[in-house]
Symmetry: C2
């Protein structure tokens, strides 16, 4: 006879806030991710101590109530049991000495970077209890005004532990993710980086190239003058959707390409093959080939939604 | 002294329904465009006579009230002053003899095809008062269930007259477009086809190739087994938006490619150059180049919205 497994009363309740936040949580950087995390954690009753770079940011963050305490002095992190590095990838990969010195030696340190292998390679040797992680939540906003309550709810939060990752540290970060309502999953850093190259970094370039094509082709001197105006008047929701990520934050797009160069180049190579095949069908008037490909794509897309 | 031009009381009020619909309007085909047009026109008090291919479609169209009269007999078009050919491109480009025979000799004939040069070439010699036009409204729906009120409101309705187009016939079609709330514009057929290749047909292929890339790369035997699941779990709104048109109606996508082959191949060629440039920047670690391109794209996109 089988039955549903009963809850084990001895199992740790890792998603209860009592369990994992006995001590203050530190957040380094109060942009979209750091600010949103600060708001959520305070609503859960957690004391949040935030370190920011500039006094003007600190002032605005205090006005917005993004953390219990906000300072430009790294000493604000003293006493934190968990520190979340919510920095842009470039600053995360070149941590200043004063930040490293201010991290409490026994604290669990995690990050929110959108590429994981270089972060793991950089930080694992620097701190004892490091957990590489990536909350996959975003809006078009950035900076100290961007943080919002509930950003992580039902969004994936991926951690990429390796053999050296402390299991207790990993569990603490899992507790954080689940406390803010995110869906926790773990995988190898290389698999994460290949996946985000395909679903996030490649689309930015594909989409940007489309915008450039519409602009350049219509501005071509061989086009009669009306084409440039026409493409702008006639572009509708399909074009708007396909170009949205290509018209997004240029600094973020560049950082992701730079930090995930190898996986992105591999994805681009694959992409070129797929487009070449479709173009060959069009050139050779193989309409059955075009239709079969588009039929496969129509079946495929719901798997990714 | 300058002043705003006063309305000319002698100017024809081409967008008043009284002006252009003294006689019934015929619609051939009651899919998304034909059905929506039938609903709008009836609401404006116009008598609509529709010709469809199959009796089952006629029955359902009657239940939905898509036209005043629906028949599979071409004679239903007798007496119409304007006939709208709301057929798929392939059927539009190979009109059956019985349809041609049933079109009232003095009626204005227009179409709704998404490619204009081949339609103009096919139909101009066949009927005396032909106007090639393209109402640019769409939803993900197709068929007799798809028609809806107000589909054309604030959407572009492009006509592509040539030297042989009867000006009065053009004015009648303009009246139709404006009566259903569309934004009327005219341009050369070749310019229209180049524009839609860039903003509509190219995006379908670009987007489909992206879906295939994500699928194939993650299914690669060299990938550890988790990648295929991971890309599906982690794909978010950016991937969903960029792949929407690639996962759309395969028959429609194929027809558009087939009927706009030359302009689409030219657009693909341009696209390849734009993507090659971006890829070269990534390969050569020219991050300034990537960032400058993405900055241009960020500035560019609002021009197309």
């Amino acid at each position: 006879m089988t039955s549903a497994p009963l809850p084990d009363p001895a199992a740790p309740t890792i998603n209860s806030t009592e369990q994992w936040c006995q001590r203050p949580v530190g957040i380094v950087g109060l942009g979209l991710i750091g600010g949103s995390l600060g708001l959520d954690l305070q609503q859960l009753g957690v004391e949040v101590r935030a370190l920011v770079h500039r006094e003007a940011t600190a002032e605005r963050a205090r006005q917005r109530g993004l953390a219990t305490q906000v300072s430009t002095d790294p000493a604000v992190l003293t006493g934190c049991g968990l520190v979340v590095l919510a920095l842009p990838l470039d600053r995360l990969l070149e941590p200043p000495a004063e930040l490293l010195a201010a991290l409490p030696p026994q604290a669990v340190i995690t990050d929110v970077g959108s590429v994981k292998a270089p972060v793991l390679a950089c930080w694992s040797p620097l701190v004892q209890r490091f957990v590489a992680s990536h909350p996959m939540a975003g809006t078009a906003q950035a900076g100290v005004e961007a943080g919002q309550l509930g950003l992580f709810r039902d969004r994936p939060w991926v951690a990429t532990p390796d053999a050296a990752t402390d299991p207790e540290a990993l569990e603490l970060v899992q507790g954080l993710a689940q406390a803010v309502g995110a869906q926790w999953l773990t995988c190898a850093a290389a698999a994460h980086d290949r996946a985000v190259a395909l679903i996030s970094h490649l689309p930015v370039l594909v989409s940007a190239a489309l915008l450039q094509t519409a602009d350049r082709s219509s501005a071509d001197p061989s086009a009669d003058g009306e084409l440039a105006g026409l493409v702008r008047q006639l572009a509708s929701s399909g074009f708007a959707d396909t170009t949205r990520v290509g018209g997004g934050n240029p600094e973020l797009g560049t950082l992701m390409a730079r930090c995930n160069q190898e996986a992105l180049l591999a994805a681009l190579d694959r992409y070129r093959s797929a487009l070449d095949q479709l173009e060959a069908c069009v050139r050779e008037s193989d309409w059955q080939g075009v239709q079969q490909t588009l039929q496969r794509c129509q079946r495929l897309r719901p798997e990714f939604l």
